[in-house]
């Protein structure tokens, strides 16, 4: 069984820790507690191509990605860039952030995820897709659990394959 490191990053308050908790422990807390430093968790993901031990690093949110210690991104096989669909400030710098992340680790796969899907309508999401200059891989809701399992499972399939 392979082991891979995946990073959850993005601005503060976008729901990275909620996605982490929902995926690893199938829990959700409405209360907001800011992450200090980094939190590491593990989950075994079964795919048709084989099993994967996914080590997930939930990094404290920063307004810009160049504020995160560079070493956190080293040796990672995948980065999940999370933004909040209800707060434009969390996806305003998305191009610069992704450019920066690619410059640190050229080989890593980056997925862009819009979280808090439960708070907006499909029309709002369609409008948001027009505003964002880059493709969004998935919209999730850590609160309802929608697309959370799919997000990590799809990532695992790509990494195992």
């Amino acid at each position: 069984m392979l082991s891979k490191k995946v990073i959850l990053t993005g601005s503060f308050g976008v729901g990275k820790t909620s996605l982490f908790e929902r995926f690893i422990n199938n829990k959700f807390e409405d209360k907001y507690l800011t992450t200090i430093g980094v939190k590491v968790g593990k989950k075994l993901v079964n795919t048709d191509k084989g099993d994967l031990s996914m080590m997930i690093w939930d990094i404290a949110g920063e307004v810009a990605q160049n504020k995160v210690p560079t070493s956190y991104f080293l040796g990672t096989s995948g980065i999940i860039y999370v933004f909040d669909v209800t707060r434009p400030s969390t996806y305003r710098n998305i191009s610069e952030d992704l450019e920066y992340l690619k410059s640190i680790n050229k080989l890593t796969t980056i997925k862009v995820v819009g979280n808090k899907k439960d708070l907006v309508s499909q029309e709002d999401l369609d409008k948001l897709l027009e505003e964002i200059p880059l493709p969004v891989n998935l919209f999730t809701s850590a609160k309802t659990g929608e697309n959370v399992e799919k997000l990590f499972h799809d990532f695992a399939v790509e990494m195992v394959g």
């Binding site: 069984m1 392979l2 082991s3 891979k4 490191k5 430093g37 980094v38 590491v40 968790g41 593990k42 031990s53 080590m55 690093w57 210690p69 560079t70 070493s71 956190y72 080293l74 040796g75 990672t76 096989s77």
Partner: protein, 280 residues
């Protein structure tokens, strides 16, 4: 008889009232004047009041605990409970110094006691002792170091950048070692980034009685959790052992971390470190 007496004028009425007051209040007025005179004369006042105050003070002295003890105790208890943090902050530095002094004194006494015992029991003229007397550590130092000897509890071999676990050894497995390896790497990365020390590595993490010794190598590092005091020579001994282990057991390319690799390294770690004694 003339019954038609005329009513008094206001002046007459006031005069009559004053006469009445004089008749009725003269005694009281004298008493008030005497009290006022006494209050204004310090000596007289003291003569009257002092015995009463003395009597009350004596009473308070004698019955203080019974009369006020419970109330004061309640106030103090409440105050202490409300300001525990302040009290701890105030007391801790002093207490810390006292404890340190006490421990130092106890260690000194222990060392002296051991020295005395050794001197009486051992043959002081053996070649080994003669050599040690001049060139080696003192007997007390040897015995003290044995009392607090370092003991390895867990070893982690971790991929340097990703924090993925390459192998581990633990006397008692009770935690998720993959998560520990990840967290150790995060702490290490944070410390190295925060202090911006270029290529310098974090080498030791210490908490209470536990130490985590970090042996850094180009693409991975060892984290050794241990208790006890470790001297420079013991650290060197451990370091050499870890490097030799890596040369013999860790493949050159560890890019792909999988369970076959981690099982093989973990098994080798158990074989090499189960009976390992840092002091030898």
């Amino acid at each position: 008889m003339n019954s038609s007496s005329s009513s008094p004028s206001p002046e007459e009425e006031a005069q009559l009232l004053e006469q009445l007051r004089q008749a009725l209040l003269s005694e009281d007025r004298k008493a008030v004047a005497a009290i006022r005179a006494m209050l204004e004369d310090e000596a007289q006042l003291s003569e009257k009041v002092s015995p009463i105050i003395r009597q009350h003070l004596a009473f308070i002295k004698e019955n203080f605990e019974g009369e006020y003890g419970i109330i004061i105790e309640e106030i103090v208890t409440r105050k202490l409970a409300d300001s525990q943090d302040e009290i701890v902050n105030m007391i801790f530095p002093k207490l810390n110094t006292i404890i340190k002094k006490f421990i130092t004194a106890q260690f000194q006494m222990l060392k002296e006691g051991i020295d005395t015992q050794i001197k009486t029991v051992q043959n002081r003229f053996s070649p080994k002792n003669i050599f040690n007397r001049f060139f080696g550590p003192s007997d007390s130092d040897i015995i003290l170091s044995q009392l607090d000897s370092p003991e390895v509890h867990e070893i982690y071999l971790v991929q340097r950048e990703s924090g993925l676990l390459l192998g581990s050894y633990a006397k008692e497995k009770n935690t998720d070692q993959d998560v520990i390896a990840g967290m150790l790497t995060a702490i290490k990365s944070f410390a190295e980034d925060a202090f911006n020390r270029g290529k310098e590595d974090l080498e030791m993490i210490q908490y209470e009685n536990y130490k985590i010794f970090l042996q850094n190598l180009p693409s991975y590092y060892f984290a050794v959790a241990m208790t006890g005091s470790i001297s420079t020579s013991e650290k060197e001994n451990l370091s050499n052992k870890l490097i030799t282990f890596a040369e013999d057991n860790v493949p050159f390319d560890t890019t792909d971390v999988n369970s076959t690799l981690t099982d093989r390294i973990s098994s080798a770690l158990s074989k090499h470190f189960d009976q390992f004694n840092i002091q030898q």
